[in-house]
Symmetry: C2
Subunit: 362 residues, 2 copies
Amino acid sequence: MARINKATIADVARAAGVSTATAGRVLGGYGYTSEEKKEQVFKAAQTLRYQPNALARSLITGKTRTLGVVAGDIQNPFYASALRGISNVAEANGFGLLITNSDEDQAKEIQSVELLAQKQVDGLIVTTSDTRKARHLHNLRAMGVPLVLLDRAVVGLMVDRVATDNIAAAEQAVRHLIAAGHRQIGIVAELVDEESGGLDVFLTRAVAGDPMESETLYPSWQRLLGYIRAHRIEGLPVDPRLTLRAGSYSALAAQVVVSRLMTAPHPPTALFTTDSTMSEGTMRALAELNLSIPQDLSLICFDDLDWMSFHRPGVTSIAQPHLAMGEAAARMLLERIRGENYPPRTVLMPAELIERGSVARL
Amino acid sequence: MARINKATIADVARAAGVSTATAGRVLGGYGYTSEEKKEQVFKAAQTLRYQPNALARSLITGKTRTLGVVAGDIQNPFYASALRGISNVAEANGFGLLITNSDEDQAKEIQSVELLAQKQVDGLIVTTSDTRKARHLHNLRAMGVPLVLLDRAVVGLMVDRVATDNIAAAEQAVRHLIAAGHRQIGIVAELVDEESGGLDVFLTRAVAGDPMESETLYPSWQRLLGYIRAHRIEGLPVDPRLTLRAGSYSALAAQVVVSRLMTAPHPPTALFTTDSTMSEGTMRALAELNLSIPQDLSLICFDDLDWMSFHRPGVTSIAQPHLAMGEAAARMLLERIRGENYPPRTVLMPAELIERGSVARL
DNA sequence: CTGAAAGCGCTTACAG
DNA sequence: CTGAAAGCGCTTACAG
């Protein structure tokens, strides 16, 4: 399957009777050329069906006009939407998009970053799987590769970042439940450990109002923190029994812990889920137990999914602007690639509480 | 933001006291080198933090180890899953993935293909937006660029392809409804025109049993054909009034036509939707009209979405193996890239009817 | 405005 | 096994 017809700039130059330098200038759109030669070159290029080889150009310019993205899982609606936002601005600027999945696994993430670096992407957007150890990201920074962090920050890495204000959004959601009269509110969260001292220690400190390095916390931990703050503000105790940890990005894990809680004595009157995967597992558990929303249980979900609007009752949710987050990240990255030199920026985008019918007034 | 520390093979060779050829051989893993020199080179590479420049390598080998994909919309669950499948096998084989969206628009698709070709991808997977005019795809073929078609075939283009057997799957779904006693069954489909003579002509021919070029029909048309065949087989007339065309990939468009039908006199007792976007629009319409499934209306949806299993009642659906389709497409493409030389293959993957609670027995 | 020459960072015959 | 040299397909100073 050898490629036929692969005309090079030398072929075009020969056919047009000019030097390769001149042919390059008109085809590449740089430098000056007389109208006459321009026309000759274009004509020759057309008959030879000349297509530039971006590799050769990149090798010499040092720019590939390609963005690299390491997402957790492109199948997950959060990433799919953010990726679409990134793609929109990349495309509008004539950039290509090299996409990889980390599955929230640091080893895979490192491998992805390496692949993208070798392919000489002009910059990277990464949703890191570990907010603490991230030598590969520090290395990028050291090598001067533009980098934007999406969704999660990294301890000690001062680079551009876009995320949602998770703490504020979660706090708002939980206060909404409290305002509706709920006192026993469960939270369903990933809370992958990442050596943060464990859930118990975290709860103790957070409940005590200990100022914590909330900025670099993993999102589900931030949302838990918002949940705790809502309780503190409203003068309600936090019941550790209602703090459900799935331990991984798994709907099944969420389903299991929710089932267990809802069949135990004194189940909560409301649940707050911290992302789409947890929401899905929770919905499965409720369907399985034949529990009705909001009669048997009220619910607010972090991340607004399509079905929440036509589910009956509609599900009250916190909508992150996924698409806009992706767009913002890509725009910031493009600015860095262009060489703009601000200090590192953090863009915290507002999440919106969408009230529907899943919260009962008690 | 100039990159520092960008060691080249020449730097490594110098540090190791060998020629660039030798350094290249050990770093690139080709040719033979003595253990001694190997060690020297590796050591030098390590201290210089050498990272190969894939561009330079590709320029000379003619291979980029990168796959190009043009999807309709990576945010759509069908594409997101298929892409994940593609990504899985690409990654397992050390290939990168360059992804673009066409938004089902031919001009954008052509632009995407051009971008990917210029970036010298080793092969392409495309879900084309037009199954008839596809010169850009014929050109790829002529240039010897490996190409796999996903989901849709192109008239006269004999290349590898993976898709679902849409006609059979739709037929099965509709016969399932008929078997449950339904006689007035509506279908909600995109049916973008693409010069196929229009819906009326199509219906007339299909109902008459006219053998049609079903292979290269756009999926929603194929599913309509399955719907018609089910009626023919069961000896039921096809009522054109129940044939709903959205005209575009828009949930809103589907919602509008479904609302109109369900509020008109003599609404159907069941609906069959031809993909996730149509399903979503349909669900919105039903929620809006406060229609209950399956009491007021039975439903079968093409494409199984997460929420269909925990919706109450569960929604009976046709599940396409999206992930497996993506994996199959990528595997076939990789085989072509390796130079394997079968005649063009068509892989039709089976879709599965998942019975849940959305079909009432009449 | 135009061309000859060098060079981007690698790999690939070709001698030895 | 190893090195000098050429070359992949472009762009970029540098003269003229």
